[in-house]
């Protein structure tokens, strides 16, 4: 694709609106497009999504491709890869960015291989090299112990997925103008080899982990499912939510939907309280965006103390009950 031009982002939705990741993609996409002096386009895929096209323009796009079909109601690999392939072959973007979301994780790699181009996933930062005009993708590797900067030098589109909450959206601008294009993807049911059967919700009630201002996390050291009730009590007092590192979820102490980490939920609370968790890099990748971190752990060498602001070295079974009592008292007073 020698004449590849422009930046293209792939939007996502949440409860009939643009998902936060979409405005984040538009924010970074706009910046990259400005830096290479090209247009920013967005693609919206779904059963009925054209109503949101104007909103995408207000958040920074010059052009919006709308691909609608009842076959695109739910995300299915084959149909989404198929329509994205067709769009990319026709539009020939220079840069293509998706979210490192449930959809993006599945769609982006398969699409990159179909298009024969390079992809860097889970990026925290994207920029343009002032000399080569290539996109530089920064992503955490080795469980967040190191950062890697990657370029896709030979093929287009240069592809990346971005980690949610890592990029700033633009201010919404109602005066912004753009073009909306209905794109005929020529979708054919025979393309779809993986059949969608049903979706099952398992989320716990109460404050959602990803949105919570306070997150109380328990680790392997909690020792079993019952003591999580204490963490629940503390979270409830503070109006927050309870999460866990991978071992408690793998052991079934808490449902997998409450796992915080690289492959679980990504949390960015104002206050994070880690209880009896070592601070494995896999977990920290999911909570390093917390504004303030507190840890209670009996091992003074635990890695969690290297990333938190306040720590208590002690057995949580002895520390947590008086802590909860005092918090209760302070909040009541």
């Amino acid at each position: 694709m020698a004449d590849s031009k422009g930046v293209l982002i792939c939007g996502e939705f949440m409860n009939g609106n643009l998902a936060a990741i979409t405005t984040e993609l538009l924010g970074i996409g706009r910046k990259l497009a400005n830096d290479i002096g090209e247009d920013l386009s967005a693609v919206l895929i779904g059963e009925k999504v054209s109503d949101l096209a104007e909103e995408v323009i207000r958040f920074g796009a010059d052009k919006v491709y709308v691909i609608e079909s009842p076959l695109l109601k739910d995300y299915v690999t084959d149909s989404y890869v198929g329509v994205m392939e067709k769009l990319c072959r026709e539009v020939a973007p220079n840069i293509l960015i998706l979210g490192q979301t449930s959809m993006g994780r599945d769609l982006a790699p398969r699409l990159a291989f179909r298009l024969g181009t390079g992809l860097t996933t889970d990026c925290l930062e994207l920029s343009i090299d002032p000399d080569t005009k290539l996109m530089l993708s920064t992503k955490p590797v080795y469980g967040g112990n190191a950062l890697s900067i990657v370029a896709c030098e030979k093929t287009q589109p240069q592809m990346a997925t971005i980690r949610p909450k890592s990029m700033e959206p633009l201010e919404r601008d109602d005066s912004r103008k753009g073009e909306v294009i209905a794109f005929d993807a020529g979708l054919d049911e025979s393309m779809v080899r993986v059949k969608f059967i049903e979706r099952v919700k398992e989320e716990v009630e109460g404050v959602k982990l990803e949105d919570a201002d306070v997150v109380v996390v328990g680790g392997r050291g909690i020792g079993g499912p019952e003591p999580f009730a204490q963490l629940e009590a503390l979270a409830k007092l503070l109006g927050g939510a309870v999460g866990a590192t991978r071992p408690p979820c793998d052991s079934g102490w808490l449902p997998p939907t409450q796992q915080v980490g690289l492959t679980g939920k990504l949390v960015t609370p104002n206050l994070y309280i880690g209880v009896a968790n070592s601070g494995a890099s896999q977990h920290l990748a999911g909570c390093s965006g917390s504004k303030h971190m507190v840890a209670i752990n009996k091992d003074p060498e635990a890695n969690i103390f290297k990333v938190c602001q306040y720590g208590v070295v002690g057995d949580y079974k002895k520390v947590l009950p008086p802590f909860i009592e005092k918090v209760k008292e302070l909040l009541a007073g």
Partner: protein, 266 residues
């Protein structure tokens, strides 16, 4: 049923940050002295997924790894868990593979293994966390892929798969052959039994080079890579943890609560 699992040897992801070091020239981690490399955890769960199907339906499990000669250990581990055979892809021509060239080499090796019903990979390798090789192999072989699986049942030439979603899971169906990437929600992988370890010790792990898998030199290693790592570095972290101390646990706990109140966090 013929089941193939792709596994990767990686530096132990539990290596504490203090023992973690990199070679900025080679743009790779320097293996920590006291922590030997391990099988990537999600790949171990992929082996478990294949073994569960073997337990239920009979069949053969073949493990493949693209890596250094030391990756033989990781393959031996899959044999001791219950895999039937294992092959190591090793050749200096594979050096500096990215996801594209690794997926191509593994796809070539899969063709050499021959018939398969399902291919399993971990959802992502625990070193670069890229999560591309599984989907890439499927694309190269022209078969469907289902990612982040937590439960797999096979009947009448179809696989019924539960895929992990942020708020639960979804159920999909696909006809075989297909490729599945496995997530940790599958559950703990089995331990190797003593019998398994003894049996694995007796098996050899044949090594295949680029020519033996019929790989085109332009598609493997650095030559076949579509991405280039320009830089690898350890980010600077400020670590200023204030340890709250008291005469006893209760006093410490109260001091912590008072501190958090003083800085307006509660």
């Amino acid at each position: 049923m013929n089941l193939i699992v792709c596994v990767k040897e990686i530096p132990d992801p539990e290596t504490p940050a203090s023992a973690f070091a990199i070679d900025p020239e080679a743009k790779r981690a320097i293996p920590a002295k006291d922590t030997p490399p391990v099988i990537s955890p999600f790949d171990e769960q992929a082996v478990e997924a294949a073994l569960r199907l073997k337990d239920a339906h009979e069949g053969k499990v073949t493990a493949l790894s693209l890596g250094a000669p030391s990756a033989e250990k990781v393959l031996k581990h899959t044999l001791s868990m219950g895999a039937d055979e294992a092959f190591l892809l090793n050749d200096s021509l594979f050096d500096d593979s990215d996801s594209a060239s690794a997926a191509y080499a593994l796809a070539q090796a899969i063709k050499k293994v021959g018939e398969f019903d399902l291919i399993f990979c971990g959802r992502q390798a625990g070193d670069f966390d890229s999560g591309q090789v599984g989907s890439g192999i499927a694309e190269i072989l022209g078969i469907p892929s289902v990612t982040v699986a937590k439960k797999i049942d096979v009947s009448d030439g179809n696989a019924r798969i539960e895929r992990v979603l942020p708020d639960g899971y979804e159920v999909v169906e696909v006809s075989l052959p297909a490729l599945i990437t496995v997530s940790n929600e599958l559950g703990e992988p089995r331990y190797a039994t003593l019998k398994g370890i003894m049996a694995a010790a007796k098996k050899t792990v044949p090594v295949w080079n680029a020519e033996e898998i019929g790989a085109e030199p332009s598609k493997i290693g650095a030559a076949g890579a579509r991405t280039k790592r320009l830089k690898l570095f350890i980010p600077v972290r400020e670590s200023k943890c204030e340890i709250i101390e008291g005469e006893n646990d209760e006093e410490t706990a109260i001091k912590l609560a008072l501190k958090l109140r003083a800085v307006k966090l509660i």
